[in-house]
Symmetry: C2
Subunit: 365 residues, 2 copies
């Protein structure tokens, strides 16, 4: 198996945003392209809740990444020109330290003893990777969904660290509708008897709870319009199990089932819970009471905010609020709403619409 993944191991104590600390920390990351002699071409890419650091293929790992069409030679974020860094989020389970990792103090998995995770911690951890790579200043930070939140947190925690910001289908604060959806996903996982208060056996995790939570995720990530066009009222034609009055009948049910089964293989349930909660807790304006004040401290001089019309998890009005809060005399802000029908997931799917907007941002000399 190929891997382009590198690990940064930090032995120093890492203070968490809401208290507690990690005595040491691993951070998995990948890079593409080369850092220029002037060290001015680095792009830090934050991921959504579930991906690894493998955003795109490379010579070392030819398997397609989660944003394959966006990152690479000749792609919108052109790795012939830019040095791109993607970090597996702190709290995740693809090489970075998280609740599934061994707590070096106890020699056992962290599980629910892992400190409360915040988006700010994800941003701070990524900054450790940036520094370790010798990058003093970033061309830009970019992220979609939770990754956009992380990019915003980065710009408030390190207001002078980046010149550009690209926030896609993101938000400066979690709103109650999205909190409700995520809270219910977490409760579904925790209600699976196999979750066992977080103490499930690694080889026997709460798969059913994870599948149901994933289905709710998929419902919140796509759109009614897309599914009406794609599935309509088509039936699978599959026979139900004998005696199962409520088996899969409609195509949309089969679609959700297939995605849920595919997803849960790789993701640790406790990590999912922590990452999910970190989004609820996120509010850029928490300290000063004002998102605009917080973002005003950043020296970012170019910002791009993109939303998808059919996204109801991170809806367009939140993108508009964010773009307004980013307004500053010393900053150029572009706000783009795309008529994509794939809802929150549009940035992963509707590449024909997203590519040119991202390319325009990164094409600038």
């Amino acid at each position: 198996m190929f891997s382009a993944r590198k690990i940064l191991h930090l032995e120093s104590e890492f203070q968490m945003h809401r208290g507690g600390s990690l005595p040491s920390m691993d951070l998995a990351y990948e890079t593409w392209g080369k850092l220029s002699p002037e060290r001015d071409n680095a792009v830090l890419l934050f991921t959504g809740l579930s991906p690894s650091a493998h955003a795109a293929s490379s010579g070392e790992d030819p398997s397609p990444g989660w944003w394959e069409e966006m990152v690479g030679p000749g792609r919108p974020i052109d790795t012939r020109r830019y040095f791109v860094i993607c970090v597996n989020s702190l709290g995740s389970c693809f090489g970075s330290t998280g609740p599934a990792s061994i707590n070096p103090t106890t020699g056992k998995r962290w599980r629910l003893d892992f400190p409360v995770l915040c988006i700010e911690d994800i941003a701070s951890a990524a900054y450790e990777v940036v520094k370790a790579l010798g990058v003093l200043h970033l061309h830009s930070v970019v992220g979609a969904s939770m990754g956009g939140m992380s990019a915003l947190a980065f710009c408030t925690l390190y207001p002078k660290a980046a010149t550009g910001l690209v926030a896609i289908s993101s938000a400066a604060r979690a709103e109650p509708f999205a909190i409700a959806l995520r809270s219910l996903q977490r409760e579904i996982i925790r209600s699976d008897p196999k979750w066992n208060g977080g103490n499930y056996a690694p080889e026997d995790p709460p798969i059913l709870g994870m599948q149901l939570a994933r289905k709710l995720g998929m419902i919140s990530y796509r759109s009614a319009e897309e599914w009406a066009r794609r599935f309509g009222r088509e039936r699978t034609g599959a026979e139900h199990d004998p005696g199962d009055s409520f088996g899969i009948d409609f195509e949309v049910e089969a679609y959700l089932e297939a995605h849920a089964v595919k997803f849960i293989g790789g993701f640790d349930p406790n990590c999912y819970l922590y990452l999910s909660r970190s989004m609820d807790l996120f509010d850029v304006g928490e300290h000063s009471g004002c998102v605009a004040t917080e973002l005003g401290k950043s020296t970012v001089s170019r910002a791009l905010v993109i939303g998808a019309e059919t996204d109801f998890l991170f809806p367009v009005n939140q993108q508009e609020d964010l773009a307004e809060c980013l307004e500053h005399p010393d900053r150029e802000v572009e706000f783009v709403v795309l008529p994509s029908i794939q809802g929150h997931d549009s940035f992963l799917v509707d590449m024909d619409r997203f590519r040119p907007v991202i390319a325009r941002f990164y094409d600038r000399p």
Copy 2:
């Protein structure tokens, strides 16, 4: 305890729309007002998924009904003028026969041996009550949500039985987004080990599964706009259980919990599953392939279609489609979109907006 509930017991076999039959049937209903000597003032009111037949208070039962502000003397559906009939849906558990009832053939509860339930069965069962009350022709049929579907089914099954139709936040066919949400609710209930393949003890039902499904229901019944205004990011301030990293923190979480706990006391899980599925299966146009053709057969001469702007479970575009399909040279169709922020539930909550629209329909001489 007061009750205005009456029971119609039918000993004749009732053929179900998709096969199977009930050897006998109970139907619980309430009435308000008096049938006129001309028998031309009867209004048949269909309920949503969860209510009983108790739509409004009366002398016999002063407790407020689920549509208290809409039905009664001096109310929009004025019971000094109209004879209003509300039937507990077939398949439900508030006096009408459903999966929780005893199958007279076996002497045991129907549970999953209950035949597949369709919206058409709910409409046909209600028609039995109408006939038993001596009503030959209805002034109108009215319903919201599943009740609107039932009203549409009634008008296609009995095209000459009613002069008026009021369909609120309803749909002529279930779309895949709503199917996905309901399918997941059902799977959540069925995943509760206590559901036990439908064979739970009546005194020990799958409460947790029902609560989680109810929370998903609440999320789909309200709107992001309402919750943003109502809850924002307010915290409960409640202490978590010791060791519970994921307890209720935000007000919106406490709100969902309170509603879920309140709901599940009264509702039988198997009945919920059957009623929920009946909505997925509903498609007026199923037989001829065309909703407009089916609705064109009805002699309804006045139709009112109402939608709420923020309803994403039965969205405005579906109301618009329905209103268009109802267009007919011999029919007056009014289509109203209300700017209510309470989503699908608006018809139960935003009475100041809904009352005048309904009143205008029923005020006509």
